[in-house]
């Protein structure tokens, strides 16, 4: 876990001072609402349907017990006692009073948390693989570079008024768990034959009303040049990105309109200029940051543990949870445990203050004080001894945090939708809950296998519906909620955009249609095929016919 030093802390303190000043100037009328809006957004404060919302940055999705307890405290003191994890691995609280914002920010700053650049047309929180530092397949810990980017992008003087928001994701493993290709800039860290690390830089991915998957701008960027290259890439975007229409202002539209070759050319030319004066980050600083992400002191353990094996044999529910929610760890005798925040009847991604405190205790005791947030709105205990897994499971179960549904049909991403958001056209959370209820039988879910349903309550696509194996998009049709279904999207290394199956459905119809699609898959799948594999093999037609009839 990266620890703030006096420099980082001074930046945070100055920011709170600045924002407090801005709030008082707004309240005195010195700032107009139009002038104030982008300032509060860059401090993570939105005006929603019922109240202000506070969006707290969780850089590269990494938390520890102290931070989690800090979040719990803020949720209790300044909100309604719970928080909501987002697809940007941030936490949102939806019931803030504006005049209490500076106090809430000070409480967050005490545990090294902030809301900086969680909104606005600037560089947002960089997300990373939630298994970083624990996954067997990674070439390095991508969070080191996530922290380098966090510092470089914080209060960047040239890139704080971009045409539109700018999101970066980073992964160092061949299995993409961070939806890298759906980002404005997606970074894959690779190792070449000489053993050197570098980046494959992709750009122009994004969802919204024009879903586009990122294209490769550079196959290989030596790691020491990351910041100079990003300087150049952002400059090209800042200068040439469209500003005439907010819906066409993301970098994806620029890349699409001028073409990837032209974009590459522009970035390359700009980079050559930047390199003449820009001093890339000192390797000593990268090493300093890397020390914070050094592996914890793992014990030398055998691959498995007797008591653990015994628990697996005697408690089938535990065995089911392990099979679904636990992943292999790079260190023998350890495991990665994902805590599903998708219990039936609960809002996807929500966690209560009491649960946060309890997870903090568990993480401290059993996971080297390390907790991760996933873009799929779950949390992870990355380093649990297999010998401790059963105890951890039992404690989680008592907290209603041991739902064994990771990657299954009920592990749904949903945006806040009309329940909170002023942009939404439809509800999203209740749709997710109804689908969860329909598929409540966990054995049926397990039989269906991996199936990622993602729901957005409007075209802005915060619920990542374009990347859902089954995507659901809520639209307004003559004042009625209407839900369009897309099939075949993916947010993994094989990223793809879902295709619309046909006319939309009303609120009740959408859950029926999802069930029909799932049952169609069950009837035509070949052994070992996931939903996505079957869809890619047979195409949309069989599903269409099942949902709408032969004609």
């Amino acid at each position: 876990m990266y620890q703030y030093d006096s420099f980082d802390q001074a930046m945070l303190d100055a920011r709170i001072d600045e924002f407090s000043d801005q709030i008082s100037r707004r309240l005195s009328g010195e700032l107009t609402e139009e002038q104030f809006k982008p300032l509060r957004l860059m401090n993570g404060i939105y005006l929603q349907l019922h109240a202000y919302m506070l969006r707290i940055a969780i850089p590269y999705g990494t938390l520890n017990a102290a931070k989690l307890r800090g979040l719990a405290h803020v949720a209790r003191t300044y909100d309604k006692g719970y928080g909501h994890f987002t697809t940007r691995t941030n936490m949102q609280m939806h019931w803030l009073k504006l005049e209490q914002a500076p106090d809430a920010l000070r409480a967050l700053a005490k545990v090294g948390l902030h809301t900086i650049q969680t909104s606005g047309n600037c560089i947002r929180n960089t997300t990373a693989d939630q298994f970083a530092g624990a996954a067997a397949d990674e070439v390095c810990d991508p969070r080191v570079w996530g922290e380098v980017i966090r510092q470089w992008s914080t209060f960047h003087p040239e890139y704080s008024f971009l045409p539109r928001k700018f999101k970066i994701a980073i992964s160092a493993a061949p299995s993409d768990r961070a939806a890298v290709q759906w980002h404005d800039v997606g970074l894959y860290i690779l190792k070449n034959e000489a053993g050197e690390l570098g980046f494959r830089v992709m750009a122009g991915g994004g969802m919204g009303r024009t879903p586009l998957i990122a294209k490769t701008v550079r196959e290989w960027l030596p790691q020491q040049h990351l910041l100079s290259y990003l300087e150049a890439l952002l400059r090209v975007y800042n200068r040439y990105g469209r500003r005439d229409n907010a819906f066409k202002a993301r970098i994806k539209i620029l890349v699409h309109e001028i073409g990837i070759e032209k974009f590459q050319e522009e970035v390359e030319a700009e980079w050559q200029e930047v390199l003449k004066t820009f001093e890339d980050i000192d390797p000593r600083e990268v090493e300093r940051i890397a020390r914070f992400f050094a592996p914890p002191p793992f014990e030398t353990l055998p691959e498995t543990d007797e008591a653990y094996e015994a628990a697996l044999a005697s408690d089938p529910e535990f065995a089911r949870w392990v099979e679904q929610n636990v992943h292999a760890h790079k260190a023998p005798g350890y495991a990665i445990a994902t805590i599903s925040l998708k219990a039936t009847g609960e809002t996807p991604g929500d966690i209560s203050a009491d649960q946060m405190d309890a997870v903090a205790d568990i993480a401290e005791r059993y996971s080297f004080d390390d907790v991760r947030v996933t873009h799929e709105q779950n949390i992870v205990l990355p380093h649990v001894k297999k010998a401790d897994l059963y105890t951890v499971y039992q404690q989680l179960k008592a907290l209603n945090l041991a739902t064994p549904n990771l990657g299954l049909v009920s592990d749904i991403i949903a945006c806040p939708g009309l329940d909170y958001c002023s942009l939404a056209n439809t509800r999203a959370i209740p749709v997710a809950m109804d689908i969860q209820k329909r598929f409540a039988d966990i054995e049926r879910q397990r039989d269906i296998g991996e199936l990622k349903i993602k729901i957005s309550g409007c075209i802005n696509a915060c619920g990542h519906h374009h990347a859902g194996h089954i995507g659901i998009l809520g639209v307004d049709r003559r004042g009625e909620e209407n839900f369009q279904i897309t099939l075949g999207g993916s947010g993994a290394e094989d990223a793809s955009t879902g295709k619309i199956i046909g006319p939309g459905f009303d609120y009740d119809g959408v859950v029926n249609a999802v069930e029909t699609i799932v049952e169609t898959y069950r009837s035509i799948r070949e052994p070992g095929e996931r939903f996505l594999d079957t869809y890619r093999r047979v195409g949309i037609q069989p599903f269409k016919e099942a949902v709408y009839g032969q004609n």
């Binding site: 002038q35 209060f155 001093e279 600083e285």
Partner: protein, 183 residues
């Protein structure tokens, strides 16, 4: 920290094509004195001499004219600042327009002028120049800030002085935190 000199801009005499600015605060982060510039609007007639500020289109026309003691150029948001390169030796002032404070294109123009074109003359931000953007502007190498009338002097000063450290290299010569950390 650079010297901050705040002055009220004097009102120019109104002749055809002269832009009138009244009672505006201007922050200068430069050592030299401001000249008495005459703003030439897009298609207005040129005066007989003096220091003139023209738009990018008319730059070539005035740049080689020896009657003018100094040349300034106005760069609108979205215009390519690199186009002034051929005339750089004659230019003493580049005005960067911020039509809306949210339009950040000319931050990049300032960076290009300072870092790539090695321009050392005055760069002035004009338009919707508000207190909360001054620090960013100064960091990008803008050294004269013609403030929007709504901005109070005290607020502007606070805004410029608030951050003791910076995380990234820009055009103001400040060392980024990573460099301070590593000696």
């Amino acid at each position: 920290m650079a010297r901050i000199e705040i002055k009220r801009q004097v009102q120019h005499e109104t002749t055809a094509g002269v832009l009138e600015v009244e009672g505006q605060l201007e922050i200068r982060l430069r050592e030299d004195e401001s000249r008495n510039w005459t703003q030439i609007s897009d298609d207005a007639e040129l005066p007989e001499g003096g220091a003139v500020v023209v738009n990018l289109k008319r730059l070539a026309e005035v740049a080689e004219d020896p009657r003018f003691e100094a040349i300034g150029v106005r760069v609108a948001a979205g215009e390519d600042v690199r186009q002034i390169a051929p005339h750089l030796p004659r230019i003493r002032l580049v005005e960067l327009e911020f039509p809306k404070f949210r339009d950040g294109r000319n931050y990049s123009s300032a960076s290009i002028l300072r870092q790539q074109m090695k321009y050392a003359g005055e760069i002035k931000a004009v338009g919707d120049v508000l207190a909360d953007q001054l620090f960013f502007m100064a960091r990008c190498g803008i050294d004269c800030l013609a403030l929007h009338p709504s901005v109070r002097e005290e607020t502007a000063r606070r805004s410029l002085d608030r951050y003791k450290f910076v995380y990234q290299q820009a055009s103001d010569g400040r060392r980024p935190i990573w460099s301070l950390r590593n000696g």
